[in-house]
Subunit: 208 residues, 2 copies
DNA sequence: TTTTATTTATGACAAATGTCATATAAACTT
DNA sequence: AAGTTTATATGACATTTGTCATAAATAAAA
């Protein structure tokens, strides 16, 4: 298995080389110190896996992957990171990275490389822990209007306002008079401590 | 490394056992054929990793993990699956599964186990490919206001309206007169074919 | 039955909103 | 320089909105 190491900290890069070469299956065919170098070197060396830092001076790891993947669609990149940055995880994933692990965690680098070599995608546990929360949001939570002291009628009006209806239209839809709808809205606004229907709609779409 | 295998197809279970035991580091301490069995057996055997099928008759893999993790918070479970089901991935992740790989992919099972043993989380590439899309939504896409014939100033006003500001407040924030802001909004509404600021805010939160 | 809440409704009012015609100055074209 | 566009402003106006006091009808509680 031929791998290439990319890290702008030369000490880290050579440490990684040593750690990784201790395994007889792994051969380090190249070491680079910037994303830009890596893009160039990848063409010549075409390694099986790229073991790359994310934060680097001259073109960071994500940009490098983006470039590389344009030329070599099947490129496999395992990212190393010192700290966990949610932004990066998502970006890395959508770019097609094969993994995202913590640099400090030496022992896990070789197994991770092997798993990637076998077609897996690997994440440090700390990294993955935050994923479920990021995924969770599509599960639409039901708005608990009662906890705001609102009743079903009031909530129904909120929904109509959030659909953009005027007082008159709400009244027609609910078979109430326009004045009554106004009164309801007045009450809703004060309970929710909002100023006007626009803020109510905003509340609906951001907090509900 | 002690592992436990759980699969209701006995043939598959024993095949897995053979494959996995071919590696001298791995020792299979138990084989179960249902989630319920697994929960019980886990207590007695406390393996390092549980290699478990998801679809099973008597208590499925996810339910089993849920039970097990109640008792053993640090339990590590690597799921095996015949087909890719997005539902399961998300659920498995939020339950704290350490991996999710394709059963057919024999060669990758051992490396995956080792990576998990080292604290990583592992996904079959096919599995992970669908994650980026699921994650993408938090990545706020930039609204292309130009395609609606709006200029930057108008868009800025839209943002303020969508924050719930009144005309007067918008005016103050943009150093314009209130009347001008009104005129702008009037123009915005007609371009967007909306009726009032509330509908504009709704547009912002649902279409932008 | 009387009292009390609840729901719905009115009317009056001030403030905010949206539309429109028009105006002014600055920034460009030509 | 003369003309045109652009950004900003004004005033007048009709509507809509939100608040409040109050009232009638009904339902629930005593």
């Amino acid at each position: 298995m031929k791998i290439m190491i990319v890290d702008d900290d030369k000490l880290v890069a050579s440490s990684l080389k040593m750690i990784v070469e201790a395994d007889e299956e792994i051969e380090v065919t190249g070491v680079c110190h910037s994303g830009r170098e890596a893009v160039k070197a990848y063409d010549e060396l075409s390694p099986d896996i790229l073991l790359m830092d994310i934060r680097m001076e001259d073109m960071n790891g994500l940009e490098a992957l983006e470039e590389i993947i344009k030329m070599h669609e099947d490129a496999r990149v395992l990212f190393l990171t010192t700290f966990n940055d949610d932004e990066y995880i998502v970006k890395a994933l959508s770019l097609g990275a094969k993994g995202y692990i913590i640099k400090q965690d030496y022992e896990s680098i070789v197994p991770a490389l092997k798993a990637v070599y076998e077609g897996q995608t690997v994440f440090g546990s700390d990294v993955i822990e935050r994923l479920p929360d990021m995924l969770k949001e599509p599960a639409k939570k039901e708005f608990d209007y009662e906890s705001f002291g609102l009743n079903a009628q009031e909530y129904e009006i909120i929904e109509l306002v959030a659909m953009g209806l005027s007082n008159k239209e709400c009244a027609a839809k609910l078979a109430l008079s326009e004045g009554t709808v106004r009164n309801y809205i007045s009450g809703i606004l004060s309970k929710l401590e909002l100023r006007d229907r626009t803020n109510l709609a905003i509340f609906y779409y951001t907090r509900c």
